[in-house]
């Protein structure tokens, strides 16, 4: 429960919370952001800071150079050195600007790549799968995954330049104030204070701080969803079939407008603050400028100095424009979110690891012993479930949707551990095995199998790091066995939008997925899990493929989850599940003879064929 509670706080403003609880600066998301920059690319990070500092200091240096030059003109001394000084500063300023822009953009890209890496690892590393399926975490994950797709702010590569310019401006302002203070210490302080006060007076209209309310989030998500519905391909056909364009768009505009009004109300400019600011600023400026001019007129300072101080005094106003701006706020939020998610995912997806080798298992049997299981979000799926599957046999599992069939497959893959009871492989608790070793004994085709946008070769035999590529003949053999011999060449990418890429139909994809399982069997997997593997195959395909599949996996322990009794009946034994329990178990003939649930279901499906055969009629009875 604790994991869930902390995970749900992803979008809460850590800023206010941190201030309240007085946490160290290192927990602030801004801090984490700057640390992330350094980790993403130490070299670019250092260059970014160095250039930024120089670019901030150079305008102040130029004000000095101008004064020196004017002073020299006035004094009719040599102009070569002053001109070289001013020219050098000016040139450096010109050259550094474009370079810093490139550094900003590249560093932004590198940082988002770094975040994507952390996120990918956070999802991929945990051995279990709870962190991907637990609703409380998926909410956070969805938000974190979108961070650089420009939905909540400019992408990092653009934001970096904004962040940099805010900081450069601030440095310029402070450096200018120091130059002014070199003349009269109070003058610099007065100006800096006046400009700084504008930040304070207008603080409420700066960043939208309480944007993490439920209403804002809901409006944001609704708007986002409606927009994607309208413009992205998956819903395109139904959008047209049912004429949903206007409905979707009205929804989008209403949510977005509401969002904007909320933001506008929260960040509206307060007139009194504005008038107060302009009074303070004007007074301070007139006082200091007047004072400098008077000193120049009275010859207390030379014209050159006056020019330097006046230029610098103008430069101090940069303080009002610079600082940690809105872009930083938007850019640092995902960093903090990803870091938090990393911990939460590692906790939620962790499984105890065992040392035992598992090669060649199961040799004798797989046994569910009193297994109870509930998903993290609550619903109990299995309760004291008992089932023994002899090694080398095939078992079909049938039952209504939600009976717990897929959960059995997930437990066998050890995506989760049972809440109580145990799954035993040849008498040994599954938890005692080395999890990677066990998983290489298993191959699975799920209903929602993966369609890799990769060459056919990699779709059939996705390799782990360091694994040698299987030879083409072996690949062709398993493709042939899955009835997919002539789909495409092994090097053809199976997705449109890639050079030479092609898309497969649903049925063709399913054959590829079956070939993938057969390839794993060739590599030593002895347990084959098939979760609705032929739902998208056509008539000829289904009958043909299934026969071949059973032949190719004859020596394996095969578990088939299916709604189709024409395939189910081919299994050695059939298990009928209802609400997480076994209600019938036995061979096809045995169960047919028993006349129970299985028989009822089988007859229903077969009826429509048999009627035709026996009575020579077609569909009148339906």
């Amino acid at each position: 429960m604790e994991t869930r509670a902390s995970g749900g706080k992803l979008r809460e403003a850590p800023r206010t919370e941190d201030l309240r609880t007085g946490l160290a600066i290192t927990k602030r998301k801004e801090w984490q952001f700057f640390v992330a920059l350094t980790k993403a690319s130490p070299g670019l990070g250092a260059a970014w800071w160095a250039c930024l500092l120089l670019l901030g200091l150079l305008p102040a240096a130029f004000a000095i150079a101008m004064g020196v030059l004017v002073g020299a003109v006035r004094a009719r001394t040599s102009l070569v050195e002053p001109l070289a000084f001013a020219g050098g500063v000016f040139l450096l300023l010109q050259i550094l600007s474009p370079i810093h822009q490139a550094i900003s953009a590249n560093l932004g890209y590198r940082t988002s790549a770094w975040l994507y890496d952390r996120l990918t690892e956070a999802c991929v590393r945990p051995r279990g799968i709870a962190h991907l399926e637990d609703p409380s975490l998926t909410t956070d994950l969805t938000v974190a995954r979108e961070f650089d797709r420009g939905m909540t702010g400019p992408p990092l590569n653009v934001a970096m330049d904004f962040i940099a310019s805010g900081l450069i401006t601030l440095v310029t302002g402070v450096a200018s104030a120091i130059v002014v203070s070199a003349w009269q210490w109070w003058a610099g302080l007065l100006l800096a204070g006046a400009w700084l006060s504008t930040h304070y007076l207008l603080r409420e209209s700066g960043v939208w701080r309480d944007r993490n309310t439920a209403e804002v989030q809901a409006a944001q998500r609704d708007a986002d969803y409606a927009y994607r519905l309208a413009v992205e391909p998956p819903a395109a056909k139904e959008l047209r079939l049912f004429g949903l364009a206007n409905w979707t768009l009205d929804r989008f505009v209403a949510r977005r407008t509401r969002l904007h009004e909320l933001q506008y109300a929260a960040t509206r400019m307060r007139e009194r603050s504005l008038v107060g600011s302009i009074l303070i600023v004007t007074t301070a400026n007139v006082a200091v400028f007047w004072f400098i001019a008077q000193a120049a007129v009275a010859h207390q300072i030379g014209l050159g100095q006056a020019v330097t101080f006046l230029q610098s005094a103008v430069g101090v106003s940069a303080i009002a424009f610079g600082g940690l701006n809105w872009a930083l706020d938007g850019a640092s939020a995902p960093v903090a979110a990803v870091l938090r998610l990393q911990e939460a995912a590692a906790r939620a997806g962790a499984l105890p690891l065992g040392p035992r080798p598992a090669r060649g298992l199961p040799e004798r049997e797989i046994r569910f012993r009193q297994v109870s299981f509930a998903y993290p979000d609550g619903a109990t799926v299995l309760e004291r479930f008992d089932l023994t599957i002899p090694a080398g046999t095939s078992l079909a599992i049938v039952g209504q949707n939600g009976a717990g069939k897929t959960t059995l497959a997930k437990l066998l893959c050890r995506f989760y551990d049972p809440d109580s009871g145990a799954i035993e492989i040849d008498g040994v608790d599954l938890r005692e095995f080395d999890i990677d070793a066990w998983r290489s004994c298993v191959t699975a085709v799920f209903q929602d199998f993966v369609r890799f946008e990769a060459p056919l070769r990699d779709n059939v035999a996705p390799r782990r790091i360091g694994e040698a590529p299987p030879d083409d003949d072996a690949l062709r053999e398993v493709l042939g066995a899955a009835g997919a011999r002539d789909l495409a060449s092994l090097d053809t990418v199976l997705a449109k939008g890639y050079a030479g890429g092609t898309d497969l139909s649903g049925g063709q994809w399913q054959r590829v997925a079956l070939a993938r399982a057969l390839a794993a069997v060739k590599l030593g997997a002895g347990l084959v899990l098939l979760d609705e593997p032929t739902a998208q195959l056509d008539v000829r395909g289904e009958a043909e493929i299934f026969g071949r599949l059973l032949a190719a996996t004859r020596h394996c322990t095969t578990i088939l989850i299916s709604h189709r009794f024409s395939t189910v009946r081919l299994a050695d034994r059939i298990c009928v599940m209802e609400r997480g329990r076994v209600v019938e178990l036995g061979g096809h003939d045995e169960l047919m003879a028993r006349g129970g649930r299985y028989r009822t279901m089988f007859d229903l499906q077969a009826q429509r064929f048999q009627e035709a055969d026996e009575e020579g009629q077609t569909y009148e009875t339906l």
């Binding site: 010109q94 035709a612 055969d613």
Partner: protein, 621 residues
């Protein structure tokens, strides 16, 4: 030469991707669009941004006046200049702050309008070609990422104008000292050239990496979503996905980064030229002109700010061209494309189907594909019939459905609705009269009531209508099983959302297809692939009964696309497709009697249910 500058190429292959419209015209169109949606705010933003540009440009003048005052011992002039400088600084801040606020408001509001505009254009294009063809997808995905920043184009434009105003003022000051100083402006030419040339180079690098970018996003999705997570773990390829993702990203990023470094280098060089010229100008004023101190001051300050203004203007124009203009060109393209695709049919859909629908020699190939998806197909679907379409994968079943729903137009031949060509019927009207459930249905994550009710938006909130549709589709058990019934939010990523199983989603989609009251055509494309035996059986009994009862009496044609011959055989008419052609058609009995491809396929499946499967299944032989 930029692609946009090329004259329209008439010899171009018809399905080659048309180039984006030219930059300036596109930007102008975007301006008009903004003006149409947010007239007042746009005018105010423009005025404020120009006004805000004035105070800072005055600094050089104030400095010169101050210099003159000090040198000539005119205290009032010097003090007045200092006061002017002080007020300028304060006014600069004030006007900038207010101008930013006004622009922010304008941009936020115009963004909503533009996003809606883009979404409306995409969603209302009659065909789905732009959603299925990779080249279009690439274009549109870039536009989608850009639309939220299109408002920056206005800001950029205003800012550019403001920089140009300051620039003009500053040049005037310089000319006032000596007209020869205007030459200084010419030395900014190299940076202007770089600013116009480099964004194209960067854009090309970006587009060349589209495949790698797509791959890296795909791998990221695989690694970070739950459904693929299962197989990723069994296969043990998690670390590999992470590594490959990074590799694809690097392959995409590196050429782009290189292009960006190149840009930085060229820009730095170009600005070094200007820097040299500035030093030269100061030297000219000091030594060549024997100018007064005040003049030197003016040139020093004005020349230096000139660099800032030119750089800002050039950078802003570069931004405009490199980023914002690109977005506006894509938007303009989408507008053109939508206008081109809008084939405004002149006829309304018929109220009742009397004879039926005829496919007359219909051929079709997907845009960009060479293979025909349908090849001279002719048949008639009689009114009130239950029609099944069978055929192997890729035989064109789904294509038939798409043509019938006007998601594409036939390349040749015609679809006739009671003798009138479908192409002349208004798409919106026609779609108001068709309904169905698709194989790759979409999981609309709304409240269950809406998820179903979307099938007939007008009656979406009517409890009775929604419940009836759910019952007809056999989805009432799904609804009953939801925690809050029809009011349950669907989709596990939503707060309090329930996640139906695949089969349950499918039933909900089926229910959606039963919402319309009197459709002329109801398409059921593989609607039961994930349903269990009992549900499927119950369902088919109900359909057939409903279809034949003809209660609505509008001549409805029910079209079933299926692999299951147990379903297919109950149809009045069976259309058998084979390799994009019509293989045969007729009733189950006729086709069985003919001993053609249909009866062959039927036998294979029926054999699987007979007493001894091994004896008859050819696969076992």
């Amino acid at each position: 030469m930029k692609p946009s500058d090329r004259p329209p190429d008439r010899t171009m292959a018809p399905d080659a991707l048309e180039p984006l419209p030219p930059t300036l015209a596109s930007m102008w169109r975007l301006c008009k669009l903004g003006f149409r949606y947010e007239r007042g705010l746009m005018a105010l933003s423009l005025a404020m941004s120009q006004l805000a540009s004035l105070p800072s440009a005055l600094t050089a003048l104030w400095l010169a006046l101050l210099g003159a005052g000090v040198v000539q011992h005119e205290a009032p002039l010097a003090l007045g200049a200092a006061a002017g400088m002080a007020v300028s600084a304060a006014a600069n801040w004030f006007l900038m702050t207010v101008s930013t606020r006004v622009q922010r408001r304008f941009r936020d509001k115009v963004t909503i309008a533009l996003e809606a505009h883009v979404a409306r254009l995409q969603a209302s294009i009659v065909s789905v070609a732009h959603q299925e063809r990779p080249e279009y997808l690439d274009r549109l995905s870039m536009l989608r990422n850009q639309v939220f920043v299109l408002d920056h184009m206005y800001m950029s434009l205003f800012t550019t104008l403001a920089w140009i105003m300051r620039l003009a003022f500053t040049l005037a000051l310089l000319a006032w000292v000596n007209p020869a100083l205007l030459v200084l402006g010419l030395f900014a030419a190299p940076s202007a050239v770089a600013a116009f040339w480099r964004p194209d180079v960067e854009n090309r690098a970006y587009e060349r990496g589209a495949q790698e970018q797509r791959l890296s996003l795909h791998l990221f999705d695989l690694a970070t979503t739950a459904a693929p997570g299962k197989e990723v773990r069994v296969l043990g390829i998690g670390e590999r996905l992470a590594r490959d993702r990074r590799a694809a990203w690097e392959a995409w990023y590196r050429p782009m980064a290189r292009a960006r470094w190149g840009t930085a280098m060229w820009n730095a060089l170009a600005w070094a030229v200007f820097g040299g010229a500035y030093v030269g100008a100061v030297a000219f004023v000091v030594w060549g002109m024997q100018a007064t101190t005040a003049q030197v001051l003016l040139v020093l300050a004005a020349g230096a700010s000139l660099a800032g203004y030119i750089r800002a203007a050039v950078a802003e124009i570069g931004f405009l061209r490199g980023f914002w203009a690109d977005g506006s060109r894509r938007l303009a393209w989408l507008e053109d494309y939508a206008a081109k695709e809008a084939a405004p049919g002149e006829h309304a859909a018929p109220a009742v189907l009397r004879e039926g629908i005829r496919f007359d020699n219909v051929s079709f190939a997907y845009p960009g594909a060479t293979r025909l998806a349908l090849d001279k197909v002719s048949f008639t679907l009689p009114a009130r019939a239950v029609v099944a379409i069978v055929g192997e994968n890729g035989a064109g079943k789904t294509t038939l459905v798409k043509l019938l729903a006007k998601m594409y137009e036939p390349a040749s031949g015609a679809i006739l609705i009671d003798g009138a060509p479908l192409s002349r019927i208004r798409a919106a009207d026609w779609r108001g009269r068709i309904t169905g459930a698709l194989q790759d249905f979409f999981r609309f994550e709304f409240r269950a009531r809406q998820t179903i009710g979307l099938g007939d938006v007008g009656r979406m909130e009517e409890e009775r209508a929604v419940a009836a549709a759910a019952a007809r589709a056999g989805a009432d058990d799904v609804v009953a099983g939801l925690p809050a019934g029809l009011d349950t939010q669907l989709g596990r990523t939503w707060p309090g959302g329930a996640e139906p199983s695949f089969g349950q989603w499918q039933k909900l989609s089926l229910a959606r297809g039963f919402m319309r009251e009197a459709p002329l055509v109801q398409v059921l494309d593989e609607p039961t692939a994930a349903l269990d035996a009992e549900t499927e059986h119950a369902l088919f009994e109900r359909y057939a009964a409903a279809a034949r009862a003809g209660g609505d009496d509008c001549g409805r044609i029910t079209i079933l696309v299926s692999h299951r011959f147990s379903t297919v055989r109950m149809a009045d008419l069976i259309i058998v497709l084979d390799g994009a052609r019509l293989a045969e058609s007729g009733s189950h009995d006729e086709l069985m009697a003919r001993r053609g491809p249909y009866s062959e396929l039927y036998d294979i499946q029926a054999a699987a249910y007979r007493a001894n499967p091994a004896a008859r299944s050819p696969a076992q032989a």
